[in-house]
């Protein structure tokens, strides 16, 4: 170690410091440098863009299905193609769009919002992205090669088991899940560590931005729920590949074991998608109401309560399988109870807008659309939490309407608002407000037109997952309306994307175009590689509204190599300094090795003992300290 270490501080600030930090934190140029990147902003954007591409693919598939259902007895698609289409649509939307896009935004924003320079384990974050990408390419590659999964997004046995699930389709589904779960779990761990240990000094748990609270709760939910589906799909693969009998009733297995483990993940999954959106809403509502959040502790406790309650509801997806009476009562009560914390949050947001000076710009419009749509979805949820109604409506379009109201209304609307809100931070430019309003109204009204009639067709008895329906049952009009609505939404999304592209040349944004209160707006737009020249020190929940000319900072971190400041996990007092990992190609190489093993294991169990060898070599190379590296990441057991 040299005798004199260069550190930031009153005597070393401004452009000189910034160019020294840029040198320390930037990655090498070229393809290898691009693949080796450990910058959370770069990885976050990759996640978001990839997830939006999968959204487009799955959305196009939805439009294809809507064309098939536009008129009765249609022959545009046959039953097999329809089966594969709704399976690919659901699997892509849940595993390749909804969770990854939320995690992508979290990866981008969390370090900026807590005032640190990078994620806790940036190489693990990079690895997770490559795993996610490989999983998505695997699923869609198999689909284009003619053996995409076709058993529904939850791949129920015995349909997906060895007896009925002929070919490799169900294996492809199961292994896609493994890819995405590895990625999501890795991200959840890094986000949790980042939030608990890297918050800016003074950012006590009572001052954490609500989006970051939502991220923490979501990450813990991922940690506790996703092992269930990873394990479940591993058991399914082993039933199919090596003849275990977990789900085979003839050998004392049980098909319902699959459903229990799937929904133990599947229900929390809904909140894993929804809670980040509540974080978007809290941030947008605060900024556009120009006042701090009404009932901050209530919102935080509601997030935590939702996270806990979400684990007690999974059986309501299984009411139609036959349960003991007490099971029906318990899970009905639990399902209804989860609406209480969500309701409390909605009251807090409304109170904040009510007491503030709201500016109804596009991000806030999406929040209003969320209130309207999500409340309808929530109410239809309370309806089907009642067992007698659920037994009638199970597997009808009423359910399809319900969960699209909850998922699109609850997650995608806030996401579109969030993209509009944070786009200036990512690009340094504002999105077009006029085009934004046009696409907002088209998305909002098109959505209602597409999905509200499904309540009616469901009540009329139209079953899900059936490729056509006969004429003369009153299903023509609602289906025609749904199809028209779906195309309006499709057009609106095209306009939204167009807005994203043309706004690259839009009005310059500056650091804080919305006059927002949280730390990500304290740095330039787009932020530099090192995020902050000096680490901010926080004295309230709305740091940028405290003093509009200056920002309290701490100083004394190394400048010539990447270094992070760690703080205590409750009170965020300064604790230690730690090096941050340098760019490395090995996460990419490791992801390739793991992918080869995963894909190989669809075809032969021997892929695992042989495939593990290159994985071990790549991981060792990843963790082994390099000569040129003053800041290697520690070996994780």
């Amino acid at each position: 170690m040299s005798a004199r270490v260069l550190r930031d501080g009153p005597n070393f600030t401004g452009p000189k410091l910034e160019s020294a930090l840029t040198l320390a934190w930037s990655r090498p140029r070229g393809l290898i440098g691009w693949l080796a990147s450990v910058d959370h902003k770069e990885i976050g954007v990759r996640y978001i863009v990839t997830a939006l591409i999968f959204l487009a693919l799955a959305g196009a598939m939805a439009l294809h299905m809507r064309l098939q259902l536009m008129v009765p007895d249609n022959t545009l698609m046959n039953a097999e193609l329809f089966n594969e289409s709704f399976t690919m649509h659901g699997t892509t939307m849940m595993f390749l769009f909804a969770v990854p896009v939320m995690q992508g935004v979290q990866i981008y924003l969390t370090p900026l919002m807590v005032g640190t320079r990078n994620m806790a384990f940036p190489r693990l974050t990079a690895f997770s992205y490559y795993m996610y990408l490989a999983g998505g390419l695997f699923l869609w590659g198999c689909h284009f090669l003619g053996f995409g999964p076709d058993n529904g997004w939850f791949s129920y046995v015995p349909l997906a088991g060895p007896q009925y699930g002929i070919g490799k389709r169900a294996d492809v589904w199961a292994q896609t899940v493994t890819f995405t779960e590895v990625a999501a779990l890795a991200v959840a761990v890094t986000l949790t560590a980042t939030i608990l240990k890297q918050r800016a000094p003074g950012m006590t748990l009572a001052r954490v931005p609500l989006f970051v609270w939502a991220t923490l709760v979501t990450s813990l939910m991922v940690i506790f729920s996703m092992p269930a589906v990873a394990l479940d799909s591993a058991l399914l693969l082993s039933d199919r590949l090596v003849g275990t009998q977990f789900f085979n009733p003839a050998e004392h297995g049980d098909a319902l074991l699959w459903q229990h483990m799937f929904w133990f993940f599947g229900h929390p999954e809904v909140y894993i998608i929804f809670l980040p959106a509540t974080g978007f809403i809290s941030e947008i509502v605060t900024t556009f109401s120009r006042r701090s959040m009404f009932g901050y502790p209530i919102v935080v406790l509601s997030l935590v309560a939702t996270g806990i309650l979400a684990f007690g509801l999974w059986v309501h997806h299984m009411f139609a399988t036959g349960l003991p009476r007490v099971g029906y009562s318990f899970y009905t009560a639990a399902s209804m109870s989860v609406s209480i914390p969500t309701g409390l949050q909605i009251y807090c947001w409304i109170a904040t807008i009510w007491q503030g000076r709201p500016k109804f710009e596009v991000p806030l419009l999406y929040v209003i659309a969320f209130f309207f749509t999500f409340v309808i979805g929530g109410l239809s949820g309370v309806i089907i939490a009642a067992v007698p109604l659920d037994l009638q409506l199970h597997d009808t379009y009423f359910i399809v309407a319900h969960f699209h109201y909850v998922l699109i209304g609850g997650s995608v609307f806030p996401l579109l608002g969030a993209i509009t809100y944070w786009y200036p931070k990512l690009t340094g430019r504002m999105m077009s407000e006029g085009l934004g309003r046009v696409s907002f109204w088209m998305v909002f009204l098109g959505f209602q037109l597409a999905f509200f009639p499904m309540h009616i067709s469901g009540l009329l008895g139209m079953p899900r997952r059936v490729y056509t329906y006969p004429a003369g049952m009153g299903l023509e009009l609602p289906n025609m309306l749904s199809t028209i609505g779906a195309f309006v939404v499709g057009l609106a999304v095209v306009l939204f994307v167009l807005n994203l592209i043309i706004s690259f040349a839009g009005e310059e944004a500056g650091d804080n175009p919305w006059d927002a209160p949280s730390l990500e707006w304290a740095t330039s737009s787009p932020p530099p590689e090192y995020n902050f020249a000096h680490i901010p020190a926080v004295e309230s929940r709305t740091p940028l509204w405290d003093d509009r000319t200056s920002l309290p900072v701490v100083y004394g971190l190394k400048v010539e190599s990447p270094e992070l400041l760690l703080t205590t996990f409750v009170s965020a007092s300064t604790e230690t300094r730690e090096p941050s990992a340098m760019p490395s190609i090995w996460p990419f190489v490791s992801a390739i090795a793991v992918s080869v093993m995963f894909v190989g294991s669809v075809f032969s169990p021997w892929a695992i003992p042989f495939g593990i060898v290159p994985v071990g070599i790549a991981l060792t190379a990843w963790f082994w300290p390099k000569k040129s590296e003053p800041s290697e990441e520690a070996v994780i057991a």
């Binding site: 506790f224 940028l544 900072v553 994780i636």
Partner: protein, 205 residues
Amino acid sequence: MTLVPAFTEDVSKLESDGFGHRSLTWWGVIGFMVIEATGFALLFGAYFFLMSHEQSWAPLPLRPPDLLAGTVFTIVILISEIPNTMVKKAAMRLDLGEVRRLLPWVVGFGAVLLVIRAFEFNSLNVFWYDNAYGSILWALLLMHTTHLGTDWADTFVLWRLMVTRHGEQKRRFVDTDENALYWRFVWLSWLPVYVLIYWLPRLFQ
């Protein structure tokens, strides 16, 4: 940054690298241990779910697994905590010589355990494809073996790292400390697995 920085605290005097919850990687290790513990818990849940369908466990006419290999394994893995604790304490004292002397013992214990584990697979008295009981027993044992194998490989790499000049950095002692923490998870998670594989099929037949 257009806001003018108002300098408050100088953090340059803070320690770089700390042990336990002061270390970032400690939180990573804890995170992965929670994930894996959840995986074990779910597999235990599946075990009891399948068990609840049976009149007897192990299902007749199957014999419960033979006790010898599993019990020897349990005793050896419990003894392995002695060198593990010693290496953990040596790491926290930054005693490189002691760490270098003890790590081969931990690696050696792991190797012995892997050999005993092979005999365990041979003493289950059921194959994974026979019935759901056999499947869940093999799954439990395989899941634990995965942890055993990966931690053994990890400890081996750490040992080879610690005998190089990299071992002189404080950060590598933190790694050693956290590796020992993970080994505790490996043997603690074994104890319920041992009961589920070897004892419940005896008690409920």
